[in-house]
């Protein structure tokens, strides 16, 4: 069985949007990690994570975001999540990550963040 996660990228001049499609687990998290590891990511002012089609996240997926967050912050890159499904947001809440990560309801709010 192949990765259960597809990541598509939508760059503009100062914003990179990553659209997550599928389930982010210990098998598929490597796909996201590869995107966030790209050196050019620190050239953007914002990295927006579109979670509308993200149907599941485990600690492996959370760990990918946690592992990159400081590096992005040190480079003045804002990481913003939007369109998150309730059951996925609940996982962030269980760990208290909802207060440490920037999660907003809509793309408009993410772009304005």
């Amino acid at each position: 069985m192949g990765p259960t996660m597809k990541v598509t990228t939508h760059p503009t001049a100062d914003t990179l949007t990553l659209v997550l499609d599928g389930e982010l687990d210990a098998s598929s998290a490597v796909v996201l990690d590869a995107e966030l590891n790209k050196p050019e990511i620190v050239n953007y002012k914002k990295v927006l994570i579109d979670c509308q089609r993200l149907s599941y996240i485990s600690s492996a997926g959370l760990g990918v975001f946690i592992s990159h967050l400081q590096r992005l912050q040190d480079s003045d890159v804002k990481l913003v999540f939007f369109n998150m499904q309730e059951k996925v947001f609940n996982v962030f809440e269980i760990l208290g990550l909802d207060s440490l990560m920037n999660i907003v309801p809509t793309q408009e709010e993410a772009q304005a963040a």
Partner: protein
């Protein structure tokens, strides 16, 4: 109601585990939030067994048993590998601000499990490691 699944120790099988737990629980009437939480807890334990206890050796396998009696769910995951694996069952409380500062990737799985499930226990049976999880499911 009971159900059983055997999987080889490959992280490619985590999807199958989640689908197995999801289908079992959706036959009851638990909310999507509760179902997702339990699916996550089982996924985390199974991933630990696959990756840390068995080094993703596909020659090793795990048995999963689900039982739902009234509203109480019992999950048993038995590891047939040779290594006895017993992570601390003291509810971990990771310092996530420090994890972020360090750029740390792992170490949150058992915290999720202990916060989701009512009871978490690892024990040895017939030289195998068994994890028992239980939860009373609210509607």
């Amino acid at each position: 109601m009971t159900s059983h699944l055997r999987i080889q120790c490959s992280r490619q099988n985590l999807q199958q585990v989640r689908d197995f737990v999801r289908e079992f629980l959706l036959a009851g009437q638990s909310s999507e939030l509760i179902v997702n939480q339990v699916v996550l807890a089982v996924d985390e334990v199974v991933a630990n067994f696959i990756i840390h206890a068995n080094g993703e050796d596909i020659n090793q396998f795990l048995d999963l048993q689900l039982a739902l009696i009234e509203q109480r769910l019992d999950v048993e995951i038995e590891d047939y590998g040779a290594t006895i694996f017993a992570p601390s069952t003291v509810a971990p409380n990771p310092d996530l601000r420090e994890y972020i500062r360090q750029g740390r990737k792992g170490g949150m799985g058992m915290a999720l499990v202990s916060r989701i499930m009512d009871h978490v226990e690892f024990f040895e049976r017939d030289a195998h490691t068994v994890c028992h999880l239980s939860k009373v499911l609210a509607k």
